[in-house]
């Protein structure tokens, strides 16, 4: 049975729909990532799950029991959860008092509070800051205090809202480590909101894509990244190559798709005549100087139209009758001497092409 279930949730604020018909269930011990762009409604959804806000319509179930819209029961349930807000809000108290407050509010005795707080501060290397006012800490330190302030409560459910937004890479890595440690060691159920897809992929068992207040798709990372359900999701998960086309033949699951006069091979069950989008992840396209013999079914001669350096990778735009974007390592870009006007062969597998049905609406 799932630990948390959200059923038919709608939320409006100031006449605007923030969340529309959200249905979601998260099992005990599961790490669920909500990904979506800023303003998609991730924070509002987390706030409603934490019972900080009452939704305009819809129900929340915890352990199969429906949560009332007001009353004492909500505090009781809320005390089994912990919510780490996007901007860490430390209280104007010492680090120790910050971390201790949740335990004190739950009526823990003094000795146990001291034991737990000291232990967890030591664990994250903040024991030296015990008596310092938390407001004097740096952003990364404050975020760590906010995190352990929640973790010390050993919540059944941990809600995280962009836990590493605005942090430098080193602090981000520390926080991510701590999160995955807690998820493994304590089997804590987590729901985290993030706009960073790689973070979602790395930490979560399952991902839900929230776009414009709607939960558009949920599933495991591979499903979401390889097989987005529609164009919107495809764009958001970094499918840079999305091309309109029509299936002209389908031979036992291997389809030939006409894209602006070029035929590409793709794995799909859609029949001939279907209008579709063909999506290819840029990292699935390999570039070479000659047409190599390989199992890949698609190979096109192309001209480089633009090269952009992205640190260790290079983003290469090519034209092979249609426009494609490929990602190659910096070293191979140099080996191939990729520059504007260079002739190359672009190769990708039929299994690397994801076919989506073109939406009939609009």
């Amino acid at each position: 049975m799932s630990l948390i279930e959200v059923v038919g949730l709608n939320h409006r604020y100031g006449g605007r729909a923030i969340l529309e018909n959200i249905n979601l269930s998260v099992g005990r011990g599961e790490v669920f990532a909500l990904i979506g762009p800023t303003g998609a409604g991730k924070t509002t959804l987390l706030r409603i799950i934490d019972l900080l806000e009452v939704p305009s319509a819809g129900e929340i179930y915890v352990d199969g029991r429906c949560i009332p819209r007001s009353g004492k029961k909500r505090l009781e349930i809320r005390r089994r959860m912990s919510f780490i807000h996007q901007k860490p809000q430390v209280f104007n108290l010492s680090v120790y008092d910050n971390v201790a407050c949740g335990l004190r509010w739950r009526g823990e005795v003094r000795d146990r509070v001291a034991g737990k707080v000291d232990h967890i501060l030591e664990m994250v290397g903040l024991e030296g800051y015990k008596n310092r006012n938390a407001r004097t800490l740096s952003g990364g330190e404050a975020q760590r205090v906010a995190l352990v302030r929640s973790l010390v409560l050993e919540p059944e459910v941990l809600l995280l809202d962009e836990p590493t937004a605005n942090l430098d890479p080193v602090s981000t890595a520390k926080i991510e480590q701590l999160i995955s440690y807690v998820a493994r060691q304590r089997n804590t159920t987590m729901i985290m909101a993030t706009h960073d897809m790689s973070q979602g992929q790395q930490l979560a068992d399952r991902i839900g894509v929230l776009l414009d207040g709607r939960l558009v798709q949920s599933g495991n990372a591979t499903d979401i990244f390889r097989s987005p359900q529609n164009e919107e999701v495809a764009h958001f998960v970094g499918m840079e190559n999305i091309m309109e086309g029509t299936i002209i033949a389908n031979n036992e699951g291997i389809a030939t798709v006409n894209i602006g006069g070029n035929a590409i091979q793709a794995v799909t069950n859609y029949p001939a005549g279907k209008e579709v989008y063909a999506c290819i992840r840029p990292e699935d396209i390999t570039l070479a100087l000659s047409s190599t013999q390989s199992s890949a079914r698609n190979s096109f001669q192309a001209k480089v139209t633009k090269v952009t350096s992205l640190g260790p990778l290079s983003r290469v735009e090519i034209n092979c009758g249609f426009r494609l974007v490929a990602l190659v390592t910096k070293i191979s870009a140099e080996d191939l001497n990729l520059q504007v006007g260079r002739e190359v062969y672009a190769t990708f597998k039929a299994t690397g092409v994801h076919i989506m049905e073109k939406e009939i609406s609009q």
Binding site: M81, H85, F91, C101, W105
Partner: protein, 228 residues
């Protein structure tokens, strides 16, 4: 202008010699205004929290009224209490006219709007995120209020200091319902008033300076307390 200088030396003289009469008057001032401030705080901190944390119709209007009453004249409060506790008044049976108790009541009424209004604005200074954070860490409504009061402690203490300042420095109310009787209701302000009207400017100035000195000590003590 020599009076001011003479007043200053006189004040130092009176302070160093611990003049028994001045000490008694200063002590009474402190006791009456301190009690009034303490009692008003005990009412206004919870009441202010209640108003701040609840949404109700007319909240804005109520806060406006409270803020307007910041500037209620002391003599109006004096008059009000006078009517209330005079022999023919509704509380006349208590027989507290011209007693320190009556003065405490008067000063409490005087500073209640100030303390209430400043408490509300102190609490408004604590961000909504802090309240949310406390709630999601499992604080009950009451525990959240306590935390927010603690977060706003500097501003709340400033409110209390303001209240005390207004109480100890007012003269209208103390005169009207205290009566300025030697040995029972004479306080620093009423004594200053009396000495001035007697032409004892030196002593009057000295008393004024002693009052300021007292306020300074209170401020230092309270600031020390809050820094702990």
């Amino acid at each position: 202008m020599t009076e001011i200088w003479d007043g200053l030396t006189k004040a130092i003289e009176l302070l160093i010699s611990l003049d028994p009469e001045v000490m008694e008057i200063a002590g009474r001032s402190l006791r009456i205004s301190g009690t009034a401030c303490l009692l008003a705080s005990l009412i206004c901190l919870p009441l202010g929290s209640l108003i701040h944390f609840h949404h109700f119709r007319g909240k804005r209007v109520l806060i406006n009224i409270i803020q307007t009453l910041f500037s209620v004249p002391t003599v109006v409060v004096g008059l009000f209490v006078f009517v209330l506790i005079s022999r023919a008044g509704p509380l006349g049976g208590l027989g507290i006219m011209f007693t320190p108790t009556a003065m405490v009541i008067g000063q409490m009424i005087l500073i209640t709007p100030l303390l209430l209004g400043l408490t509300i604005s102190a609490l408004s200074g604590v961000s909504k995120e802090i309240v949310d954070t406390a709630t999601s860490l499992g604080a009950s409504g009451f525990q959240t209020v306590l935390l927010v009061l603690r977060e706003a402690r500097y501003a709340v203490l400033a409110a209390v200091i303001m209240g005390f300042g207004r109480a100890i420095s007012e003269v209208g109310c103390a005169l009207m319902i205290g009566g300025n009787f030697k040995g029972s209701t004479r306080v620093l302000t009423t004594a200053t008033y009396l000495e001035t009207s007697k032409g004892e400017l030196e002593l009057a100035i000295a008393l004024g300076i002693i009052l300021l000195f007292l306020a300074l000590i209170i401020n230092i003590v309270l600031n020390r307390l809050q820094q702990r």
